[in-house]
Subunit: 137 residues, 2 copies
């Protein structure tokens, strides 16, 4: 079986937070939103149904852990969860804490104008808070 390698665009757009049983959790480098990515560490996956049954179940558990951790650190009026992959085909799931009046509200975040990168200090602080939240689950 081919080895898993993170898609180059996902790697460029996000930074690592923590590894869950199936998925690597990454923070999108976009200060407009508290926005996490989950990427199952399985090679050649594009659709949910490409995963075997056990991995599909684990993906759901990883999604649920991620929503809990994100809500613990980010203000959130509405969670958005999405698996699209129209541009990057490697299977990945978005979990985004939306706020009324945020940059894309009430529309989806995907494809909404240009990202606004985090500052270095801010991104380190956010990652540290997220790791703490995941470890406290």
């Amino acid at each position: 079986m081919a080895e898993f390698t993170l898609d180059a665009r996902l790697a460029a757009d996000s930074v690592p937070v923590i590894d869950l049983p199936l998925c690597s959790v990454r923070l999108m480098n976009d200060a407009r939103f508290a926005w996490l990515l989950l990427v199952p560490r399985r090679a050649g996956m594009s659709e949910l149904h490409d995963l075997d049954e056990a991995d599909q179940e684990q993906l759901w558990r990883d999604i649920r852990s991620t929503t809990q951790a994100l809500r613990a650190v980010a203000p959130c009026d509405k969670l958005n969860i999405g698996a699209l992959g129209n541009i990057v085909r490697q299977l990945h799931v978005h979990v985004v804490a939306r706020m009324v009046g945020d940059a894309a509200w009430p529309g989806p975040v995907w494809g909404h104008e240009q990202p606004s990168p985090h500052g270095t200090v801010e991104i380190e602080r956010t990652i540290a808070s997220l790791r703490q939240a995941f470890r406290s689950l």
Copy 2:
């Protein structure tokens, strides 16, 4: 416990297809996309984590059944699955069969211009095919 009532906007935008163990599956009345909605028949739910554990697990099974049935009847280059709820707060999940070059490609379908309603014959035919596909799972 309050009785479940379908949100008025979801009711206006979609038509019933079939009831799964937890969710009512509905077809969005938008001929631009093969687009299904899943609505858990539970009152007062807005976020995934509002559901109890058993319902969260069942939601995932209902989502997976829906992706299978949709792929059986609709051409699909990429499945899009999303739970947003920024506008309609009643918990609902979108499952959309996307095609390269469709009306919103490669962007998300949500909020993309105006829906194009199905014709009466076409919508009846689509619903019949979907029911057949769900029953063949």
